[in-house]
Homo-oligomer: 289 residues x 2
């Protein structure tokens, strides 16, 4: 069989592809919203609907593709108002305030229900900024762990398709071997990269921030139903630092601080192999019982 | 002099008082936005404009006063798009998605400029929820520190008025004695409460999350100009747990993970005196040079 001369696009790039809607694309004046069309991608399917990390990446992509964008992402908060259904969606990115070097964004993502009514599925806010060189420091150094080549590549769970889109190499804090309510800590460390490898950018870094299995599963050793409600990512890297990572693994670490009456938090860090803290991320997750 | 029979309102309650605007108050249908009027309060003035924590509390109050609110705050993200000027503002709270037990909010706060044009000064998103009793755990136990009665009450900085509205009792991680660029860690622990004391609620807890002096001042021992860009608060307490705190101090802890090209992060915890982790909070802060 003859091999295609053109390399097929990476599934991640297929997934985050957005098309500007004609009506909004015609009005590229300053501070005007632009609406994009996208759709869920079968390769990033979760148990029900898509992996939250890919949805977050799709929303951020609307900011990145907006013609009036100023600078690069500094902060991004995405609220999962409802589980997306497989199929198309619309996402609007609106620059509500543009300052000299920072810009503030509000986003809304809708899907049309079986009843023909548009429903809000996701809201988000973002801050982009033109960064300047300053005094820098890292107060959360990368833990001393084995290199990705020394760690076995194995999916932590393989019941859902999106997990196959990541190369996950567990360093510490696996899923329980036995779901026996034997409580443990909530810490997991693993090397992560896209599968197949893909050069790191802001969208894939955002998805990686959500790639940890639910902390409560490890903490409690019980298969508790969960759903992320809100996730924030702070970016501590410019385009040059992301380009320097390329297709290398990044080290991810995640843990919780509180599990209280139906909601637990997760704080995560993502470092480059060379120890640059690329992003810190936080989320609050609904759990049942 | 005869004492007034009626106790004067607490300055915090004066500051967060909002009036629904007539037009929006007439339309209390489901999912309709309600617009409120408020104003900055001189007791919570910062060097320029108001203390960010009081502005965040004012925005959250718009959600709490909305007639269609479902449940209590679980997550709140506030983006400071521009520094408020002293005077009136308008804030709109819009419930964009109401589920069975959770509700998603988008907020915008405007001020009218000297040019007569309304400008977005702040955006926010919030999630409220009806919480149910579940299995609970805390993985960030309160540090072993001296009780508030054993620690001297002293403002960490007193050049700005809002600091006088808090009783701050420093446990660890003071401001540098000498601004000599002698680098240190970024950790501060202190007992905090309103001054005069006021029963804790979601709004005052939100303000407390922003009451730490800038991490970079301690980390770097240099008076670097800063401004918070975005703050997220996760609430790990219901109204009963807040009521149990009453007018007691809460223990606050804050530290940074990354200072990179103009933006540093801060992660904070707030515990009750009895060790209940009431809230975890994160922010990203602009710094100059």
């Amino acid at each position: 069989m003859k091999r295609a001369s053109r390399i097929a696009p990476h599934p991640f790039d297929e997934a985050i592809a957005l098309e500007p809607r004609a009506a909004s694309a015609d009005t590229p004046s300053v501070d005007s919203p632009v609406e994009f069309e996208g759709r869920t991608h079968p390769d990033y399917a979760n148990m029900v609907g898509p992996f939250g990390g890919i949805t977050a990446a799709q929303a951020l992509q609307a900011v990145l593709q907006h013609p009036q964008r100023l600078g690069d992402p500094v902060s991004f908060t995405v609220n999962f108002a409802a589980g997306l259904t497989d199929g198309p969606f619309r996402v609007e990115a609106r620059p509500v305030r543009t300052n000299r070097s920072t810009q503030h964004w509000m986003l809304t993502l809708w899907q049309t229900g079986a009843d023909g009514i548009d429903a809000v599925m996701l809201t988000a806010t973002a801050v982009t900024a033109v960064r300047r060189s300053t005094w820098n420091a890292v107060d959360e150094p990368m833990p001393a762990v084995s290199s990705p080549n020394e760690v076995l590549s194995a999916p932590v769970i393989d019941r859902v398709r999106w997990v196959g889109r990541y190369d996950m190499r567990l360093v510490a804090g696996a899923l329980p071997l036995h779901w026996d309510d034997a409580e443990a800590d909530s810490l997991t460390q693993m090397w992560l990269r896209d599968n197949p490898p893909r050069p790191l950018d802001y969208t894939s870094l955002t998805a990686l921030a959500d790639a940890f299995f639910p902390r409560i599963w490890r903490r409690r050793a019980r298969m508790t139903p969960i759903g992320t409600v809100s996730m924030t990512v702070y970016y501590h890297a410019g385009p040059e630092e992301l380009a320097a990572v390329g297709e290398d693994h990044v080290l991810g670490q995640a843990r919780s601080q509180s599990f209280f009456n139906g909601f637990f938090d997760q704080s995560a860090q993502l470092w480059s192999e060379h120890g640059h803290l690329l992003a810190t991320s936080h989320q609050i997750v609904y759990y049942k019982e």
